[in-house]
Amino acid sequence: MTPSAEMLSVENVTAGYGDATVLFDASFSVREREIVAIVGANGAGKTTLLSTIVGLVQARTGRISFRGRDITRRAAHLLPGDGLALVPEGGRLFPFMTVEENLLLGAYSPDSRTKRKERLQEMMELFPILGERRALAAGKLSGGERQMCAIARALMSHPVLIMLDEPSVGLSPLMVERVFTMVETLAREKGLTIVLVEQNVTEALEVSDRAYVLDHGHVVRGGEAAILRNDREIQETYMGL
């Protein structure tokens, strides 16, 4: 794969829950080693978009492909093994299991399972705080620790693409800064491709290469983050400037 090769592509996807349609004809793409931000207001359909990509919600129309392979109908539990990981909003850790058990479960897919011990060690080095908390129930972690643990759990499957759903929500400004720094580290040093879903538009546009704007289930804008950052309309609507 060449450095600019397309890694994830979402084409004309419509999805929703029951009678409600949340996502309308959404299209976007992510190239290898990019950080792509998806921004938009609360209820714009950002989480639904991620859920549809990983198969927790079924796309009604459209096509999703990952590394050239159609994954539109692929079962959710097979995707970590394919190299696609999602860090859900709030982390969704297993609250009554320890930090260590949460991480071990991150390596559940068959290819990762045999390497779970080494990877656990790697994660403890990457996130020293998790090493200190390894025997603590995940439900007792602070907000920032929980987010770090959720990111580490996703990394346990050695993904090539990691998608983060509102990783900064509910965190203190200091922790927000750390989370965004971690996102940049993962992309620039570890060579991961990242999809970053955020309401914190200012920060998201600063760390990302490209971005898409989601509004009421429609992808209304897309382009270089640097350009969107200086766009008058986006500044007024999303950045409070």
Binding site: R92, F96, L105, G106, R113, S157
Partner: protein, 296 residues
């Protein structure tokens, strides 16, 4: 004093039986969040399976485990796949379905046996030993030992194996479990199968103790509900300890109050615990909310 020792012994032995019957029920509830009303009938099937092996294959009732355990595991997995899985979006209907299964199994066995009561005997069944001046039947001691073994083994399996962790992950957050790569549908089948196999184990070990009847399942399921609520829904250790609480409560109430009142006392305690501590005495506080949380 001898009376007291006797009552405690009776209570603990009864508790062992209740614990054995309840562990599978609690595992199923904890993971799949289904109250399996047919669990008592699974025990009943285990008993009839044991009787069949004893009669037709001429093997010791305990040896029938070799057939009954895998048989019930398969039966449970098939029931989950064919009856419960299609109803996965309607949890209330799943509960009605298990109730329907209860009636179905009871009536099928009633029709097959034409109401004849069966019993089996074994060398073990006629042996009793004295412990501190109290005579206890060996079959009941075996049931107690098995309940202890099952609680320990299941606890270790859930705690330390990757499959056990996956089962707990599904119990705590099934969407998150999917996201880390757990095949939730398969875990449901497996868990229901294990729960049914544990009922089969109970049935097998209880065959030398009770006279078989198609309705016997119902007499197990009511105390089992008390056990899981007292011990904590979804907790293996809770089902084990809850068994003894129920057994001892029954034994003491039966002796000091009136044998006819023992179940009334038991269920009064049951309701009181439910009000004071809905998660049970050994359940994880908050676990009930987690399980019932809206999950896509």
């Amino acid at each position: 004093m001898a009376d007291l020792a006797n009552i405690v012994a009776v209570g603990i032995l009864l508790g062992g039986i209740y614990a054995l019957v309840s562990v599978g029920l609690n595992l199923i509830f904890g993971v799949i969040r289904i109250v399996n009303f047919a669990q008592g009938e699974f025990v009943m099937l285990g008993m009839y399976g044991t009787y069949a092996a004893y009669t037709f294959l001429r093997v010791d009732p305990y040896l029938a485990l070799v057939v009954v355990l895998p048989g019930l595991f398969l039966f449970g997995a098939i029931v989950q796949r064919l009856i419960l899985a299609p109803l996965r979006t309607e949890p209330t209907m799943q509960i009605f379905a298990t109730f329907g299964l209860l009636m179905l199994l009871e009536n099928v066995v009633l029709a097959l046996t034409r109401g004849t009561a069966y019993s089996v005997t074994s060398v073990v069944a006629q042996t009793s030993i004295g412990i501190g001046g109290v005579q206890v039947g060996l079959v009941r001691l075996v049931a107690l030992a098995a309940a202890t073994g099952v609680a320990v083994a299941l606890g270790l399996f859930l705690k330390h194996s990757m499959l056990g962790r996956a089962i707990r992950a599904v119990a705590q957050d099934r969407s998150a479990a999917r996201l880390v790569g757990v095949n939730v549908d398969r875990i449901y089948m497996l868990t229901f199968g294990i729960g049914a196999a544990l009922a089969g184990l109970a049935g097998c070990l209880l065959t030398p103790i009770y006279t078989l009847s198609p309705q016997i399942g119902t007499s197990f399921i009511l105390p089992a509900f008390a056990v899981v609520v007292l011990g904590g829904l979804g907790s293996v250790l809770g089902a084990y300890i809850g068994g003894f609480i129920v057994g001892l409560t029954e034994a003491f109430a039966g002796y000091y109050l009136d044998p006819a009142l023992k179940h009334a006392v038991l269920f009064a305690v049951f309701i009181a615990v439910l009000i004071v501590r809905p998660s049970g005495l050994f359940g994880q506080v908050g676990a009930e909310e987690v399980g019932l949380r809206d999950q896509s």
